[in-house]
């Protein structure tokens, strides 16, 4: 019983959930108020993208799913929609960056930026599929652009946090 508890506590996804909760609280308070160009910055999407960049496509997809599910809990949109989109974003981030021969800081920024933009376009498509109307407008492009820029700037520190949270328990010791 105790061993199982220690295993759960040591699990990297448990750490990710805790980090995700902190990011979610920032998302619903600070970044909900700060809206440059009228766009709500998506720090949860950044967390999903950075997870993929830090650990690769498979872990990125699972981490993105967890982060998206946390985000779904506070949104009025269908549960699981953000989880699916963020899982794709996490997967794409890891997959796209696996083609980079020698990874540099700017290649990571660029990848985070592009996958964030893709995520912000996929979200309204998902909303439309699940029945929400008037969401797929040209405003989506503005939102995607602003979010992509913000996520590019902050991708490095968030990736550092993701690398720490998603390291294997053996590496942690």
């Amino acid at each position: 019983m105790m061993n199982q508890l220690i295993f759960i506590i040591e699990n990297r996804y448990t750490r990710l959930v805790l980090v995700g909760l902190m990011f979610l609280s920032l998302q619903t308070t600070l970044f909900n108020e700060m809206r440059p160009f009228g766009v709500c910055l998506q720090v949860m999407l950044l967390l999903a993208a950075s997870s993929g960049l830090a650990t690769g496509s498979q872990t990125g997809a699972i981490a993105g799913f967890i982060v998206g599910l946390l985000y779904d809990m506070v949104l009025a949109t269908p549960l699981g929609l953000c989880a699916a989109v963020f899982a794709i974003v996490g997967y794409l981030a890891g997959f796209a960056h696996s083609f980079v021969h020698e990874s540099t800081w700017w290649s990571r920024m660029l990848t985070a930026s592009i996958v964030s933009a893709v995520g912000m376009i996929l979200l309204p498509i998902g909303f439309t599929i699940t029945g929400t109307e008037n969401v797929l407008t040209l405003n989506v492009l503005t939102v995607a652009l602003v979010v992509a820029l913000f996520n590019a700037v902050f991708s490095w520190p968030v990736e550092f946090v993701c690398r720490w949270a998603l390291r294997e328990p053996s590496a942690a010791r």
Partner: protein
Amino acid sequence: MAGYSFTRRRAILLLSLTSVILITMDLRGSSIVNFARSSFGVVFRPIESASRVLTRPIQNTWHGITHYNSVVDENRRLKDLVAYNEGATISAIASVREAQELLALNGLPTLAGISSCTAQVVGSSPSNYSQTVEINRGTECGIKVGMPVLNAAGMIGKVTDVYKKRSVVMLMTDPGYSLAVKVVNAPPTTTTTVVGEGTSDSSSTTSTSTTTTTIKVTTTTGIPGFTPGATIAPTVTTVSPTGVTSPPGSVGPNKPGQSTKSPITVPAGIDLPLKETGALEGRGLSKAPVVRFVENQVRFGDVKVGSPVISAGGATSLAPPDVVIGTISRVIKRTGTLGPLLEVELAADFDYLNFVRVLLYQPSTERPVQP
């Protein structure tokens, strides 16, 4: 490599399946999903509250940098508005009281007879695609899904999710919002040039004439002192020096061959505001909501910018009648029988929502049937 690929495919398949199952459960209104969200809220609220306290200085700095000029302008504008409204409020209160009295006398439902629950907005949606706010009252206050939410200015939305101590309110700007509304158009008026006395009879003496404009008051109810504003019609009474008073509403007998250019405004028919129903739909944060399905009727005339929009009410409507929503800001004319598309400037300012009132109103179709 094959094993790794298999594991990855399996993981992706599992994630996709889980997402689809969750979305399906939520769209079908599963109680498990509601319970999960409610439980998560209990765990997450303290973290969010702590985060709100810690990040408030940063938020204030941000608002100070980005909104300083607009706040100064807003303050100036509001001071003017307060001064302007002070006088108008007194007469408005009197009118509302009279209207409610009249409705009550006729056995019609009024807003005064509906219980309400006052709540405070504690958070808004962090999404770019849905416009919701969270309020700090829930089922313990009697709030149910679908109830209308108002602030001091007018309607702001409806309750979409209710938990014990909090509720989620879908704002009227949300693309998923729809409500039956009435557009109150001003009655059409026609200006008629009436041929009256052009030249008076020649006289060597100087005559003095007095023209007085009086307001004809028509009392339609037995309420003491009640004067419905809609029936006020200006009439002109001319008192001649001889003491003969012409009948109210006329400007003298017509005489062929004599012309005058005295324009008077004659109300077309009964001077009551005309109402036409339509459906108000939200279009997202960046666009004003629109009213559709307003019929192109001759009697209703062209919808004017500035015409008030109020809730229509009705047996199936989730909002009671005559709740203020806003005014028409733009009329988009369409060809055929589609009728005009009316953009609405909402009365409530959604950027500064604080205290709101949830009307504990349920339409007759939603009320439990008495045994």
